[in-house]
Each structure stands twice: as structure tokens, then as C-alpha cells.
């Protein structure tokens, strides 16, 4: 018996839900960003599983592009966080609420 496609999709969705949980729960910008990466990775797993079970390379190529874009996104996001920290001396989201009201 081999592992079914639905099992892979369940693991992928579970990882996505955990990432979502972390994004809502945590107050540290860096940890929120890590949880976002987790959600991105969960989607990668779903794409690879679909690609394998559909016998097509398209999903794998999409994951390749997602990895490249995620690397660029992480670099820019962390640069923004560092710039914010230099200006405000904090990374906690409660203290970064200028746009409220």
C-alpha cells in the first residue's frame, strides 16, 4: 500500500493551519515572518504532491519559482524589519500601531 495523495494534502494543510495559528498568536514580527514562510512551504508540499500524482512537471517548476521568489521576499522583508528596528527600537507589533485610529 502506498501513501495516498490525500495524506500528503492533509499534511500540507496541517502545516498551513499551524502557520496561520502562529501568525495570529505571536507578537514578535520576526516570528510572524517565520510562520509566513511555513505557510509558503506548506503550499510547496501540496504542489509537489499534485505534480507527482498527476505525472506532470509543472507543479515542480512552480515550486522552483516559489522558492526563488520566497528567497527574494525574505531578504526584502528582513531589511524592512531592520530599518524599522533602527527607527523605533522594537519589533513587537503592539508598539507599531501608528495606523490605528
Amino acid at each position: 500500500m502506498t501513501v495516498s495523495l490525500n495524506a500528503y494534502l492533509f499534511v500540507s494543510g496541517l502545516l498551513f493551519a499551524i502557520g496561520f495559528f502562529g501568525v495570529i498568536l505571536r507578537r514578535n514580527t520576526l516570528v510572524i515572518y517565520m510562520c509566513l514562510e511555513l505557510m509558503l512551504n506548506a503550499v510547496n508540499l501540496a504542489l509537489v504532491a499534485f505534480s507527482r500524482y498527476h505525472n506532470s512537471m509543472d507543479g515542480n517548476l512552480f515550486v522552483f519559482f516559489i522558492i526563488a521568489v520566497a528567497a527574494a521576499e525574505v531578504a526584502v522583508g528582513l531589511a524592512i524589519i531592520v530599518a524599522l528596528y533602527r527607527k523605533r527600537q522594537t519589533v513587537m507589533v503592539e508598539e507599531l500601531a501608528e495606523l490605528r485610529n
Binding site: 495524506a7 516570528v31 528582513l78
Partner: protein, 191 residues
């Protein structure tokens, strides 16, 4: 055997992902994140996407997480007072996560779940590949084939995006003082 490995690696991935969300210390969280990415690479291996497994370890567990650890240690975020999330946030996060998981379980294992497809046999070399339809192979050669035929334009756009990101990071990390302006260049002291 494949079943056992699947359960082992998915348990590793999911557990360490959960520990990322609940660990107090951001450095511990980053370490668990690396573990989670390695588990994900093992799942890619089980799906016979060997090139992507290598890429996952190199780019995510290597480059991205080193960048994260560097920033976490540079900003020394643990020195700042750790804010406990209030009760409403905990309830909202738990309820939202559980709703997602229950909906997911219904879709994948419920009565109306899509029937599982057969695992197709792998063709070893992409000989029967056309520009429209590239069959799944374990060879990284079919990656190159796909990138240079069907996905030529996205490939070039991705390269350009990396260049833009590089320039953007350089601009963002220029020194900016509290008033939002660039500080004036320091005058050389007159002797």
C-alpha cells in the same frame, strides 16, 4: 516501509512547525524551523522530487534560515520584554486553526473526499516531453527542459525580480536618522 517513512517525516515536520509557533525564544524557534524544513525536504524525497529536496535544504534550511538567525541575533529581540498574548488572541488563533484543520479533515478524509488517484509510473528520461506537456521525471534535466521551453518568460522575470530585490535591500539598509532623512556626511575634522 514508505508508509512508515511518510508518517515519521510528516510527524517531524508538523511537530517542529508547531514548536516554532509556541517557543518563547526566537532563536529556538528558528532552530525548530530548520528541522521542519529538513523534514519537508525528506517528504520531497519520498515524492521523488530529488532536485527540489536538494534545493529546499540549500535555499531554505541554508540561506534563508541563516539570514533569519542573523537578524534575530542582531536585533536581540529576546532582550525586549516578552509580551504574553492576551486571552482573546489565544482563543482567536486556536479557534481559527481548529476550524481550518476540521475543514481540511472533512475535505481530505470525509465522505465526499476525492478518490485517490493511482501513483503513475515514472518515465526515466524526458524523451516524450513536448513544449506543452512535460511528464514527471526524477532527472533534474527535465527541470532545465521546462525552464527553457514552457517557462522561459517566468524564468527571466524571476531573474529580474532577484536583481530588483537586491537593489531594494541596498536602498533599504541605507542609514536613516530619526527625522527620516539621510544624515549628512560627517565632516572631516580640520587639523
Amino acid at each position: 516501509m514508505a508508509d512508515f517513512l511518510f508518517f515519521l517525516f510528516s510527524a517531524l515536520t508538523v511537530l517542529s512547525a508547531f514548536l516554532v509557533t509556541v517557543s518563547r525564544n526566537a532563536v529556538n524557534g528558528a532552530m525548530f524551523m530548520i528541522l521542519s524544513f529538513v523534514g519537508m525536504a525528506c517528504l520531497f524525497l519520498l515524492l521523488e522530487a530529488y532536485f527540489l529536496a536538494a534545493l529546499q535544504v540549500l535555499v531554505y534550511a541554508g540561506a534563508v534560515m541563516v539570514l533569519f538567525l542573523f537578524i534575530v541575533m542582531l536585533l536581540d529581540a529576546d532582550k525586549a520584554r516578552s509580551v504574553r498574548p492576551d486571552r482573546l488572541t489565544i482563543v482567536a488563533a486556536t479557534v481559527g486553526g481548529l476550524m481550518l484543520i476540521s475543514g481540511l479533515a472533512y475535505v481530505t478524509f470525509g465522505p465526499s473526499a476525492a478518490p485517490s488517484t493511482e501513483l503513475p509510473a515514472i518515465t526515466e528520461m524526458p524523451q516524450n516531453a513536448t513544449a506543452e506537456n512535460i511528464p514527471f521525471t526524477t532527472a533534474s534535466r527535465s527541470f532545465g527542459y521546462g525552464l527553457f521551453t514552457k517557462y522561459m518568460l517566468p524564468f527571466q522575470v524571476t531573474g529580474f525580480l532577484l536583481l530588483i530585490a537586491m537593489i531594494g535591500v541596498i536602498v533599504l539598509s541605507k542609514k536613516i536618522d530619526a527625522s527620516g532623512d539621510e544624515p549628512a556626511k560627517q565632516k572631516v575634522a580640520k587639523s
